[in-house]
């Protein structure tokens, strides 16, 4: 009989190597799946993991990795602060959408002016939009004790409908003869969030993600607010005695996540996505939740997790397009990676015992 026995302290060894073990297991299981689909498993795995970084067209794909990882990391860092304090903001997708809407609207109000002031104004508007959208669950929780998981999640659907109405209505490009979608912000010099260095994939959103990671790391380890966040998550009662005001913590954590998600939306709509369209929301807000946990709610871990997620997307698309793998197989492969990461994680806190044990 196999039993799990709780370790007295989490294993540092397993905490360190579990992501590697998970990746290896994913490759084995995924390779079997690809083989079952009649594809060469080694070629498939090489296309997903190797080609985007070292392959023939790596000069293009490396930049794409950063474009994909940037918003994931930016949003996940904000979410991780709240998750550490036990505040569950599931609605980053909505904050991301509203940030993009507010930022785009603020910029388009000045169309077709050409001044460099417009882009910074849009960033502020985007951050503010995300912040205000996050304040709805925050204030409802503080004032009426509502559940922020439900409220923030429900607000995603509201945001999606706002997005649809903006794309076909109030932000629609007046020169599009009735077709949905706003003006292309990445083609208007005043609002374009282009690559800062050509073909590196580094646009202002990626820079913002790096700044956010450093800021979050410093705050968590060096600042009183970071201490309060960690304390509230690990020992809520002790936190009260230490002078943590729960309401203020809720507002700060949700607000911070909202600001970062809103900015991510703005950088996306002015850069890679280019316009407000019905399909602008691409799930970054939800994927970022996975990235936050994959990165152990640690800002530096989130960077690694964000890059890994980006690799499975970019490499997965690469395999789907070039090897004719069905999209569902790629999704299943990504699911395997997350499954193995979480499953192997058990070994950090538990050890496996074989044979008949004495009931503990």
């Amino acid at each position: 009989m196999i039993r799990l026995e709780r370790r007295p302290t989490p294993s540092r060894l397993w905490s360190g190597i579990s992501p590697l073990v998970a990746v290896v297991l994913t490759m084995v299981a995924g390779g079997l799946m690809f083989a079952a689909l009649g594809k060469d498993p080694f070629e498939a795995l090489r296309t997903i993991f190797w080609d985007p970084i070292f392959g023939e067209f790596a000069w293009y794909f490396r930049g794409q990795l950063l474009i994909k990882a940037g918003p994931l990391i930016l949003i996940a860092v904000g979410l991780a602060m709240g998750f550490r304090a036990g505040i569950w903001n599931i609605g980053a997708e909505g904050q991301y959408i509203v940030g993009a809407l507010c930022g785009a609207a603020a910029g388009l109000a000045f169309y077709p002016a050409e001044t460099r002031l417009i882009f910074p104004l849009m960033i502020v508007a985007g951050a503010l939009g995300g912040f205000l959208w996050a304040m709805i669950p925050a204030l409802l929780k503080v004032r009426f004790g509502t559940n922020e998981i439900l409220v923030s999640l429900m607000l995603v659907y509201v945001a999606e409908n706002l997005l649809a109405s903006a794309a076909v209505g109030w932000l629609r490009n007046p020169e599009s003869s009735g077709f949905p979608g706003s003006r292309n912000l990445s083609r208007w010099e005043a609002s374009a969030n282009l690559e800062i260095w050509a073909d590196t994939g580094i646009h202002w959103g990626v820079v913002a993600a790096v700044v956010a990671v450093i800021f979050a790391q410093v705050m968590l380890t060096r600042h009183l607010m970071g201490f309060q966040i960690r304390l509230a998550g690990s020992a809520p009662r002790a936190a009260r005695f230490a002078g943590v005001v729960p309401g203020r913590l809720v507002v700060v954590c949700l607000g911070l996540a909202g600001v970062l998600a809103g900015m991510a939306g703005l950088f996306e709509v002015t850069g890679p996505a280019g316009q407000i369209s019905i399909d602008f929301a691409s799930g970054y807000g939800f994927t970022a939740i996975i990235v936050a946990f994959l990165g152990r709610l640690n800002p530096l871990g989130i960077v690694a997790a964000g890059l890994l997620m980006a690799l499975t997307y970019v490499g997965g698309d690469n395999a789907a397009g070039n090897l004719g793998l069905p999209a569902a197989a790629i999704s299943a492969f990504q699911g395997m990676l997350l499954f193995f990461l979480l499953a192997i994680d058990v070994l950090t806190n538990f050890r496996v015992r074989m044979g008949r044990g004495v009931a503990a």
Binding site: Y60, N161, V168, R187, S282, D317, G324
Partner: protein
Amino acid sequence: MKFMQLMAGALSLGLASAAYADGHEPVKVGFIYVGPIGDGGWTYQHDQGRLAVEAEFGDRVETVYQELVPEGADAERAITQMALGGADIIFTTSFGYMDATNAVAAKFPDIKFEHATGYKREHPNVSTYDARFYEGRAVTGTLAGYMTETNKIGYIASFPIPEVIQGINSSFLHARKVNPDVEMVVTWAYTWFDPAKEADAARAMIDQGVDVILQHTDSTAPQAAAQEANANGGRVFTFGQASDMIQFARNDDGTPGPRIASIIDDWSPYYIERVGAVLDGTWEQQASWGGMPEGEVVIGEITEAVPAEAKAAAEEMIAAITAGDYHPFTGPINKQDGTPWLADGEVADDGTLLGMDFYVEGLTGEIPN
């Protein structure tokens, strides 16, 4: 940017000339799909077109496709990746790929791009193509006018864009022509494909007394909702959309099902023509808008649930449109507010149709804005 653009250009040139050197073959044909190829609707039909290209040209072509490509930032990467992979012509099969297609086309001047349902052709290597679905709507509208007993027909609309408004107007005009008492209920689903939403819309309309449902969304959920209503003593008819949806023409026990006809998007003739042009080296930029005469819009089997008189009227309509004798928007037609649009015998011009943002007289409700 400049250096990389040059590199990308040089690279694509290298790949393209490799294909050209040995007499263009095999030409690599790429397809970018918005849905899964098994959606039984829009994407399925495009993939049938891809298979038709393979069947037509055999070893002279190689096709690749990528399904479920979101219409946002990911589209540009997916198209670029296909271009880097050596495609000679790439069909991007959804409206939302418009800007991405043009952006990638700028970087790969030697690769041909074909964007479905869009209007931007910013570079000489970008063509657009669409189909005159409103021609098919004239036929289904006629059938709807005959089949309704409650004189209430329903339309599940996706987004308030010209193509959808053309469909609503065309269906309504032709239903009214054969049944002056008919009213139309329009429900906006704000989606192209969402079985749950489409089923809700269908059920809500059935509850309001609608007994014929037309749809401009791609799932079979409305057909299933109608089948369910009929199993409970209802009498509701539907039309297949984009694909034939023939599985709803008959119930499991062999009795007639809710689907009485369908509008099929057949992209095969267009894809074969355009890939053939690349093979011959005669490909040129164009904006194509084919319909029933070109075989791009096809009416699926009209079932035995339809009375002979109605079926004859529908077939007459098909013959007239296919022969080019009849245009579904032929005056006299007034706009919803009563102002004249087309005089007696006047035919709508393509420019007005492509920007259509108004209902015709008799429709109730407003186009959301």
